[in-house]
């Protein structure tokens, strides 16, 4: 009897042991299968993905805005467009000699190496090298040579004096050692900015981490505005900025759990005239077009108040902005009279071709302008093209009228680039072939003055002259619109639309990441 009993006891003991081991194995299996603790990520919807995260070459708006987060700059511009210290303060040791002192308490590069003067020198020299094709080369080409007296100081020697020189040093600094071994900054950015690069698995999904608190941010590409809005309403993205039809922004303002914030912007929309064309070369025609367009009505009804009328390239709050300029009044009788004076009328109507991009909102604006010009007897054909064709035509001077927007303009050196008679494309952006001895003289006079406070009135006179000559017809400065879910707080909207507000943004109530969190990140 004892045998079966002992056998049974041994069996039970073995079963218990097996069960304990099995439980342990199962526990380990489940532990291994479960994902790591999910990270709360704040998602931002983008209308276009950044093209390059190398700050020395990238110029598209999305890349520039994200590069500002990843890299530090020597100099920043304040709200009035004046240069202020970034990671360096400066002294002007001579008319053409600037010394920059790196801030003692500055961030290191994200690989741990310290940002020193050699990195600044290497970055700027890369930009200046013609073979690298940097678009910032033109602005910095007045640099004759760069010296580094110490690891904390950089000396810039200029070919000619320019009191605005520090404002041109807005290029993000990259580490010299990584640059020397051709590190792919465009896809694996390495800077010293307040955000660290984490991953960029697909074009439509870029992940950064804020160094201050480790908060992850995902930039999700959603091209269609309606889809972007649906994702915001469903909580698949937490915020978005601009690139919304005004009616959809108003619609979002009426939704629960979503907040729409606006701030005045500085992006300048205008109509450009071709001054080589027999019709648009005539000042009376340009003035007639200016008086026939009801900008206030377009702003009120189409843009739902999301813009302010512009009289000049730089807004009034800019230190060199146009101040006290007479607005171009909507005055159809005057437009008809000007056209009559120019020899146009029912028997000889003015016919113009208006080129615009294929962006639906731009086509809407073009159609409205076409209808307003028709009321004064001007027949306008609207031609919309894809961006490459459109921009190629504008640069080549194949247009009568076109509309575009200058984005992110901060410094008045742009006046030479746009209005000087020596700045015809491809070297400059004088696309309308505007040739004015007075304008050239004012631009050169402003550049010759060695004091920004004395430059400002000259630039203001220049903008008043441009408003009379009308190579550009100023339309408006579009507002910046930021839409976010109500649990997102702390975002300050920048006038030029940059993403610096992400430095302080946070989720007010810690949200438990949904089960499909990782899957939702791929939706872009």
């Amino acid at each position: 009897m004892s045998f079966p009993s002992a056998s049974c006891a041994r069996f039970v003991a073995q079963w218990r042991t097996a069960r304990q081991w099995g439980g342990l194995v199962l526990l380990l299996m489940f532990t291994a299968c479960s994902s790591p603790p999910p990270v709360d990520t704040i998602r931002m919807g983008l209308a276009s993905a950044p093209s390059s995260l190398d700050p020395r070459v990238a110029t598209d708006a999305a890349s520039e805005r994200i590069n500002r987060l990843l890299y530090d700059r020597l100099v920043e511009l304040d709200d009035a467009g004046m240069p202020v210290p970034g990671i360096a303060r400066w002294e002007r040791l001579g008319p053409d000699h600037y010394r920059f002192f790196l801030a003692p308490r500055r961030r290191s590069f994200h690989d741990g190496s310290r940002l020193e003067s050699g990195d600044v020198k290497a970055t700027i020299e890369f930009v200046l090298e013609p073979g690298n094709g940097s678009p910032f080369r033109t602005a910095l080409s007045l640099i004759e040579r760069i010296e580094t007296p110490s690891s904390e100081q950089v000396d810039f020697f200029l070919r000619r004096p320019d009191p605005l020189f520090p404002a041109y040093l807005g290029v993000g600094i990259v580490p010299a050692e990584a640059a020397a071994r051709s590190h792919p900054f465009n896809s694996r950015p390495l800077g010293s900015g307040p955000f660290r690069f984490v991953d960029w698995p697909t074009e439509g999904r870029l992940i950064l981490q804020r160094l201050r608190d480790g908060q992850h941010f995902s930039f999700v590409l959603v091209k269609d505005p309606s889809v972007r809005i649906m994702k915001l309403l469903r909580g698949e993205i937490d915020m978005l900025q601009n690139d919304l039809p005004p009616e959809l922004a108003a619609f979002l303002g009426r939704q629960q759990g979503v907040v729409v914030a606006r701030a005045p912007g500085t992006n300048f929309s205008y109509i450009g005239f071709n001054l080589m064309n027999p019709d648009t070369a005539r000042l009376q025609v340009r003035r007639a077009v200016a008086h026939a367009i009801d900008r206030d009505a377009i702003i009120e009804y189409l843009m739902q108040g999301g813009a302010r009328p512009a009289q000049a390239l730089l807004p009034p709050e800019h230190w060199a902005g146009g101040k006290g300029l007479e607005p171009l009044e909507y005055d159809p009788p005057k437009a008809r009279e000007l056209l009559r004076e120019a020899g146009y009328g029912p028997g000889h109507p003015l016919e113009l071709e208006y080129k615009t991009s294929s962006d639906p909102f731009r086509i809407r604006i073009a159609t409205i302008i076409q209808s307003q010009l028709a009321r004064v007897g001007v027949s306008v054909k609207v031609r919309s093209y894809d961006w490459g064709t459109f921009f190629g035509d504008i640069k080549a001077g194949r247009f009568q009228l076109y509309s575009l927007t200058w984005v992110g303009i901060r410094t008045p050196d742009l006046f030479r680039y746009i209005f000087h008679s020596s700045s015809l494309p491809p070297g400059g952006a004088n696309r309308g072939r505007y040739r004015s001895a007075d304008a050239d003289r004012l631009i050169e006079a402003a550049e010759a003055v060695d004091d920004l406070s004395r430059q400002a009135p000259i630039y203001q006179r220049l903008q008043a002259l441009v408003l009379v000559d009308l190579p550009y017809l100023p339309l408006w400065y579009e507002d910046q619109i930021f839409v976010h879910r109500s649990d997102i707080t702390g975002y300050d909207i920048a006038a030029d639309g940059n993403y610096d507000g992400l430095l302080k943004v946070k989720r007010s109530v810690e949200r438990a990441p949904p089960a499909s969190d990782s899957q939702r990140d791929n939706d872009g």
Binding site: P225, S226, E247, Y301, L302, S358
Partner: protein, 279 residues
């Protein structure tokens, strides 16, 4: 199809044709922009509402009917004439000409038709004329294949042999002795072609390859409205329902016409006809 369905289909087609023909004479303002009426819903002044530029959707729908009607009829007429003549002569003549046509047809059929039309319209540029050309280039193939097959089955008939014996020319034989006999299936094909072309025109306009702003077409109205589905669904619903009703009506009547012309189907008061005897 019930009598009610037939009458409804006829009514839809009648209204479509009437709108297309009379649109220029009606007091419509399809391009009149009224900024204060942007995206307003149906109301007394604009009983289908206003679009994203404050234009009356009803007015644009009527003008869009003219666009879709012109494109559909234009493409079907051009395609049918070219395709039928090519197919009939190739089928009747045979030999190298027939072989070449067959290969060309095969090549065209190897491409999805709408894709080829998009490519052609993209190369030629937007505009109603170019849409008609692009769709005709794609559309003739079906008629050519059908006409060729019909002629092949008929050209051995006695009356054709008699015409040849009497010294009748090839052109006369095809046009006078064969075309009338193959007209029925071609008419049915053309009927369905109209429905396809309404959709194709709307598709090309949706892609921005059709008529240019500010002219109206149903496809471009749907494209414009798709952006405002959340806030102004009437912008999409009006042209969308119009396209659906016209296509449905054309298809239902085409179906009915096919049945009517099919000699194998017994109709009250008519004796069944053997398919071997032909039409």
């Amino acid at each position: 199809m019930t009598r009610f369905g037939r009458m409804l289909s006829l009514l839809v087609l009648f209204l479509w044709g009437l709108a297309a023909l009379l649109a220029p004479a009606l007091p419509l303002h399809p391009e009149q922009i009224d900024l204060q009426q942007i995206l307003t819903g149906p109301n007394e002044a604009a009983w289908l509402g206003s679009d994203d530029l404050g234009r009356s959707i009803f007015d644009r729908l009527v003008m869009g009917a003219r666009t879709s009607f012109s494109v559909a009829i234009g493409v079907v007429v051009i395609s049918a004439i070219i395709g039928t003549l090519l197919g009939a002569f190739a089928g009747y003549t045979g030999g190298m000409a027939d072989q070449v046509l067959i290969r060309v047809i095969d090549i065209f059929l190897a491409f999805p038709g709408i894709l080829l039309a998009i490519a052609l319209a993209g190369v030629m540029g937007p505009g109603m004329d170019n849409v008609i050309i692009a769709l005709s280039v794609v559309g003739w193939v079906g008629y050519a294949r059908l006409a060729r097959a019909q002629v092949l089955s008929l050209k051995q008939r006695d009356h054709v042999a008699a015409a040849i014996a009497l010294g009748t020319g090839r052109v006369t034989i095809v046009l006078r002795h064969l075309l009338p006999l193959i007209a029925s299936p071609l008419i049915v094909e053309a009927t369905f072609g109209i429905a396809s072309m309404v959709i194709a025109e709307a598709g090309l306009s949706f892609l921005g390859l059709g008529v240019q702003p500010p002219e109206a077409s149903w496809g471009s109205m749907i494209r414009d409205g798709a952006r405002y589905m959340l806030i102004a669904p009437h912008m999409v619903l009006a042209p969308g329902i119009a396209v659906m009703m016209v296509v449905l009506a054309v298809n239902l009547l085409g179906d009915r016409l096919r049945d009517y012309m099919d000699v194998r189907i017994l109709r009250p008061g008519h004796a069944p006809v053997s398919p071997s005897r032909g039409p």
